[in-house]
C-alpha cells in the first residue's frame, strides 16, 4: 500500500462515525447537507460588513478604507488625466526607472513617462526589477468592502511585479470596482473558471506591512512601502 492509500484509508475509517453538526450535541443534526442559506457565498453576502447600496457608496467605502490602510487613491477624469498624475508622482518621488507589463491601460501610461522601462511581459532579471523604483500594473477588480485590489499574474505582469519594487501603482477602470468579496470571487470565476486559472491570484489590501515588533505598524516589510491606485 502506498502512503497515499494508507492516509486515505485512515481518513475513510475515521469518517465512518459522524461528528455532530456545529452548535448541536450528539444525536442532533446528523446530516451531511448544510442548508442553502448557510453556504459560504450567500452567507458572506448577507453577513460581511456593508459595502453600501450603489456605486457611489462603494467608491466612498473604497476610498475610506484605502485611507485607513494607507493606500493612496487618485480619481482621474480620463486616461490622459491619469497619465499626468503618474508623471506628477514620478517627479515628486524622483523615480529613475520603472517596471511594467504590456496592457491596454498600463502601456500608454508608461509610454508617457520619460523613464527607462523594464518590461516584464517576456521575462525579466529579478536583480534589475529589484532596482526599479516602481512596478506599474493593471488589475481584475477593486473591492469596496475591504479596500482591496484583486489581480492575477496575467493582469499584474507576473508574480513579482506587484510586490518586488518599493512602490506599486495600479491603474484601474471605475467599472472594475465591485461591492464585496463574494462579488469579487464570482467575477474571478466568470473570467477564469473552470479551467483557465492563472497560477497566481492575489487580493492586495494596503501596502506591505508588519506589526511584529511590539505590535507597532510598519509599512514596507518586504513588499511595497507605497501603494497607489489611479482610478480612471
Amino acid at each position: 500500500m502506498t502512503e497515499r492509500e494508507k492516509i486515505f484509508t485512515r481518513i475513510r475509517d475515521a469518517l465512518k462515525t459522524q461528528a455532530p453538526m456545529p452548535g448541536h450535541h450528539d444525536g442532533a443534526g446528523k446530516t451531511h447537507a448544510i442548508s442553502e442559506a448557510r453556504n459560504a457565498i450567500a452567507g458572506a453576502k448577507q453577513w460581511l460588513p456593508d459595502p453600501g447600496a450603489d456605486s457611489a457608496e462603494w467608491l466612498a467605502q473604497f476610498e475610506k478604507l484605502s485611507a485607513e490602510l494607507k493606500t493612496t487613491v487618485h480619481i482621474c477624469a480620463s486616461e490622459a488625466d491619469a497619465h499626468a498624475k503618474l508623471r506628477e508622482i514620478a517627479v515628486a518621488d524622483g523615480w529613475k526607472s520603472v517596471a511594467a507589463h504590456q496592457h491596454p491601460l498600463v502601456s500608454p501610461a508608461v509610454a508617457a513617462l520619460p523613464l527607462p522601462l523594464l518590461d516584464t511581459t517576456n521575462g525579466y532579471d529579478a536583480n534589475a526589477m529589484a532596482k526599479c523604483d516602481v512596478g506599474i500594473t493593471a488589475c481584475d477588480a477593486l473591492v469596496a468592502q475591504t479596500g482591496s485590489i484583486f489581480l492575477t499574474n496575467r493582469t499584474g505582469g507576473g508574480r513579482a511585479l506587484s510586490v518586488l519594487p518599493p512602490h506599486h501603482v495600479v491603474i484601474a477602470h471605475r467599472e472594475q470596482l465591485v461591492p464585496d468579496l463574494p462579488s469579487a470571487f464570482e467575477l474571478m470565476t466568470r473570467i477564469y473558471g473552470p479551467a483557465n486559472w492563472p497560477s497566481m491570484s492575489t487580493l492586495i489590501t494596503g501596502p506591505s506591512r508588519t506589526g511584529d515588533i511590539e505590535r507597532i505598524l510598519v509599512l514596507g516589510a518586504h513588499g511595497p512601502r507605497k501603494l497607489t491606485v489611479l482610478l480612471v
Partner: protein, 470 residues
C-alpha cells in the same frame, strides 16, 4: 529533541512558574493584547451578523471534513492537471525525507521560507541546517526568532514577547548593525538582509492557510509580502500543509479570508491573500518551474477518528484563542513547549504527540470559555480540555489519585467518621499555618497559591441538632 520530549510536564510547570512571576513579561503581553482587542472587536462589530457568519464558517468546515477524502482527491486531480506535484506523508520523518529529496534533486544550497507552522511540527529547519543548507526564515517575526534560536512564541505573532531593545541587540550581534530603537528602522534592516535572499534562493518553502478543492489551489495569507516573494522568485517551490486545511469551493474564501483577518489581527483583510494554482504555466512570465505540495497527516487522522473532538480540525490558526486566554497571557507562549500554543495547542497536542505526555496542558485552564466564545469557527475548545482530562484518566488512572478518591468515598459514606474528622480538622487547622509553604506541608502543591477557608466553629449538623433540642 529527546530532552524536550522527556519531560514536557516538568518543563511546563517550571517555565510557567517563572514567566507568571515576570511582571515585565506581563506588562508587554497585556500592552500588545490591548491593541489586539481594540482592532479585533471594532472590526468584528462592522459585520452585519458575526454570529451567523461564524455558524456558516463552522458548518462549511464541518461539511468539508465530512468528505475530506473526496475533497483531497479533487484537489489532487485539479492541481496535477496544471503540473503541480502532490506528495502524501504520514509522519514527520516521511515529510522531511520528501522535502530533502526534492532539495537534493535540484542541487539546491539556499532555501528561503515563509511562515510554515507545519515545518515547526516536523522540525524541518534543524534538519536542513544539520545537512548544511543555508535556510532563512523570511517572515520578520520568524526571522527574529530564528536569530534568537527560539521557536515562535505565538503562532501568529512569533516575537511579541521581545522588546525593540532586545531585537536591536539581536541584530547588532548577528548582523553587526548599529543600535536603533525605532521599529521602522529595525524592520528596514531585516528588509535589506532578506531582499537579496529571495533573489538568490534556489528553493522557496511556504505553508498554506487553505487548500481549495474545486480549483486545486493553495491560499496563503500574510501581511509582509514575504510569502509572495518566496513563491515568485526561486525556481522551485515547496508547500507543506496539513491534510485538514480543505475548503470545498473557491468562493468559500469570500467568507473565510475576512473572518481569518478579523479574528487574527482585526484587519478587514490581511495584506496579501494569494491563491496559487500551479507552477509557472507556459504563457506566464515568472514563478517557479516546479511546485510540490506536500500533505502531512502526522496524527491528524487520529483526531479525525474522534468525532467528539473532530471539530478541532476546523481550526484556521487565527490565534484568537491565545489572545483571549488568561492562561496564555500569564504563562507565555514558550512555556507550552508545543508548536501550537494556547487553548487550541492544549487541545490538539495530546492527539498529535501523546495524551499522557501532554495532558497537563488541558489541566492548565480555568475553563472560563473565552476561547470557545472568540473562535471564528466555533471549536468547542474548553469542553475539549475537559474531554482530554477525562480521556487521560480513563486511559491511565493514577495510583495516588485513585487512593485519594477511595479514601474520600470511604469517609463521606460514614457520617460519624466524617464528623470526627471535622472536629480533628478544627484542632489541627491552626497548626497548618506553621508548616504552610514548607516541605513539611503535605498539600503544598495546592496551598502554595491558595488559602483553605477556616473550618466553621459549628457544623450545620451540630447547629441543627442544637436547634431541635432547644
Amino acid at each position: 529533541m529527546s530532552e524536550t520530549i522527556a519531560a514536557p510536564r516538568a518543563q511546563f510547570f517550571q517555565d510557567a512558574d517563572r514567566i507568571t512571576h515576570d511582571l515585565e513579561h506581563r506588562r508587554r503581553i497585556q500592552a500588545a493584547m490591548g491593541k489586539y482587542y481594540i482592532s479585533r472587536y471594532s472590526r468584528q462589530a462592522l459585520f452585519r451578523d458575526w454570529q451567523e457568519a461564524r455558524q456558516t464558517a463552522a458548518e462549511t468546515k464541518w461539511a468539508a471534513l465530512n468528505e475530506l477524502d473526496k475533497h483531497l482527491e479533487n484537489f489532487e486531480r485539479n492541481a496535477t492537471a496544471r503540473g503541480t506535484q502532490v506528495h502524501w506523508t504520514s509522519t514527520s520523518e516521511q515529510a522531511r525525507a520528501v522535502i530533502v529529496d526534492i532539495i537534493r534533486r535540484h542541487n539546491a544550497r539556499r532555501i528561503v521560507k515563509s511562515k510554515v507552522m507545519t515545518s515547526e511540527e516536523i522540525h524541518l529547519n534543524q534538519l536542513l541546517v544539520e545537512l548544511g543548507y543555508d535556510v532563512i526564515e523570511s517572515d520578520l517575526g520568524e526571522y527574529i526568532q530564528q536569530l534568537k534560536g527560539e521557536p515562535p512564541y505565538h503562532f501568529v505573532f512569533p516575537c511579541m514577547h521581545l522588546s525593540r531593545e532586545e531585537i536591536s541587540d539581536l541584530f547588532e550581534n548577528h548582523l553587526g548593525t548599529a543600535q536603533t530603537h525605532d521599529p521602522e528602522e529595525l524592520t528596514m534592516i531585516a528588509r535589506r538582509v532578506l531582499r537579496q535572499k529571495y533573489i538568490d534562493a534556489d528553493i522557496g518553502i511556504t505553508g498554506a492557510n487553505f487548500v481549495v478543492a474545486d480549483t486545486g489551489m493553495i491560499s496563503i495569507t500574510e501581511n509582509e509580502g514575504n510569502a509572495r516573494l518566496t513563491a515568485a522568485l526561486p525556481r522551485v517551490m515547496i508547500t507543506l500543509v496539513g491534510i485538514e486545511k480543505v475548503l470545498p469551493k473557491f468562493s468559500d474564501l469570500a467568507l473565510f479570508l475576512p473572518m481569518l483577518a478579523t479574528a487574527g489581527t482585526g484587519q478587514p483583510l490581511t495584506g496579501y491573500n494569494t491563491m496559487y494554482a500551479g507552477p509557472r504555466q507556459p504563457d506566464e512570465t515568472d514563478g517557479p518551474v516546479e511546485w510540490h505540495v506536500v500533505f502531512l497527516d502526522n496524527n491528524r487522522t487520529t483526531l479525525l477518528a474522534d468525532p467528539q473532538q473532530r471539530d478541532a480540525l476546523h481550526c484556521i490558526r487565527c490565534g484568537a484563542c491565545l489572545n483571549v486566554c488568561p492562561i496564555f497571557k500569564n504563562v507565555g507562549g514558550l512555556s507550552y513547549g508545543t508548536t501550537y500554543q494556547g487553548p487550541i495547542g492544549s487541545v490538539i497536542t495530546p492527539h498529535f504527540r501523546g495524551l499522557q505526555d501532554w495532558k497537563h496542558l488541558s489541566g492548565a485552564s480555568s475553563l472560563c470559555g473565552a476561547c470557545t466564545e472568540t473562535c471564528p469557527v466555533k471549536i468547542d475548545l474548553h469542553h475539549h480540555l475537559l474531554h482530554n482530562r477525562r480521556n487521560a484518566v480513563e486511559e491511565k488512572r493514577g495510583f495516588l489519585e485513585g487512593m485519594l478518591w477511595r479514601g474520600f468515598t470511604f469517609l463521606m459514606n460514614r457520617p460519624k467518621l466524617f464528623s470526627l474528622s471535622i472536629k480533628m480538622g478544627r484542632i489541627f487547622q491552626p497548626l497548618h499555618a506553621l508548616v504552610k509553604d514548607t516541605f513539611l506541608d503535605p498539600a503544598r502543591a495546592w496551598t502554595k497559591s491558595r488559602e483553605l477557608p477556616e473550618i466553621a466553629h459549628e457544623s450545620f449538623r451540630d447547629y441543627w441538632k442544637r436547634r431541635q433540642t432547644k
